[in-house]
Symmetry: C2
Subunit: 244 residues, 2 copies
């Protein structure tokens, strides 16, 4: 039986999602719990994609196969008893045998949170990047609009990206201002390595006047990581939702 | 010159506010920083009151005396460079030589946050108590109303309380429901040891039907800690605001 789970995690104390020898990872934590439940038999989980160290998730999705006769809705209770309190399986359901958490993704939404308070606030230190500057939100929104739609995002992906086809479609980039924080909502059909963090970093540099909104067009055309802005820090980023 | 500071801290990694030998405390962290700035001369800080291990503060207030010729508004910047990122001085101003952060308190507001989601959410694990039950908010509000005003709060203070006069005036207890969380706002002219946590714990037991709202009257009359409900955990509690 294939089980599809939605999981949330605070990335602060994880060395990222993907299993790494000798490091605490989200995947490792869940696979260990599943293997315990399966009496020591190793159980692989497959997620919608990786997240880096420090990156959070509100609604990451993974699947696994089991031959245990456990009602799907019981899996959150079983797993949450065995995993750390900084990761929680929110829901589980039976999926078809052909469902694949990575290959079947239609769209994902990421959010990037920026706190613009003059003082770095203790409660936000792991959950929003501190950027105590005045920003021009309208300029940022203009720049964001240039990034929406289908583009080659080579300039907005890590130079280490090995994928050849860097054309992706961004459905929207919304910038919301709420109680001293900016929330960048980015939804698209696929994301390259570091793409949302580079978009957020670049938009902040539009906001502070280093770049003009139109400069973003030249950055896209350049197809060169060096042409775009900085990579914003990991701890402001959330994998918010995965849609199938 | 006497300086009045407002400070916020995430209590998770502190062994409470008050200095304790060999433990990391908020007071110890700030006094160390101030002593560094004063070239090794010890500087005592005096807060509005203590908070226990795990308890948070949005607006704790303390004062200290200095003979350094530093503009008052510079103190947050100076101190925040030297203290951990889980504590931040939000503002500072010059106060009169007779101002006293503890003796001059007129009222304080505490908040207690309860998360009622079925699953314990990773991002709330240090910042709200998890109480995954259906609660009767109207019953809780009725019970809270009985606690408002001037009463002897012996039943709502730790049995270890040494203070003789346990009469305090509660200006209000408001219960707000917001996005899967309950926020208890309690404002009064003074609080006994554990008082807000016992009020929160008791109100939750009214909410789940263990007690009726009127039972709270009998608890007050009993003047006995054993008569009231449980002490709710520290990590849901915030010293929100101190008024002078």
């Amino acid at each position: 039986m294939r089980i599809k789970c939605t999981v949330s995690y605070d990335g602060s104390q994880f060395y990222g999602y993907q299993v790494q020898p000798g490091q605490r990872t989200v995947q490792g934590e869940i696979e260990q719990a599943l293997s315990d439940v399966h009496k020591g038999k190793f159980v692989r989980i497959t997620a919608s994609g990786r997240t880096d160290a420090g990156v959070h998730a509100m609604g990451q999705v993974f699947h696994f196969d089991t031959d245990l006769q456990v009602p799907a809705a019981k899996w959150p209770v079983i797993l949450n008893q065995k995993i750390g309190d900084d990761v929680a399986v929110l829901s589980a359901e039976e999926a078809s045998e052909t469902f694949h958490a990575r290959f079947d993704v239609k769209t994902k939404e990421y959010r990037y949170i920026v706190n613009t308070s003059p003082v770095a606030l203790p409660f936000r230190r792991h959950y929003a990047v501190h950027y105590p500057y005045t920003v021009d939100i309208e300029a940022m929104r203009q720049a964001a609009a240039y990034l929406e739609g289908e583009h080659d995002f080579t300039s907005f992906s890590s130079a280490k990206t090995e994928v050849v086809d860097r054309v992706r479609n961004i459905e929207f980039i919304k910038i919301e201002a709420f109680e001293g924080e900016l929330i960048f909502r980015v939804k698209g059909n696929g994301f390259l390595y570091n793409m949302v963090r580079i978009i957020a970093g670049t938009l902040l540099e539009v906001g502070n006047g280093k770049y003009q909104p139109e400069d973003v067009l030249k950055m896209l055309e350049a197809k060169d990581r060096g042409a775009a802005g900085k990579t914003a820090p990991a701890h402001g980023l959330y994998l918010w939702e995965v849609n199938y």
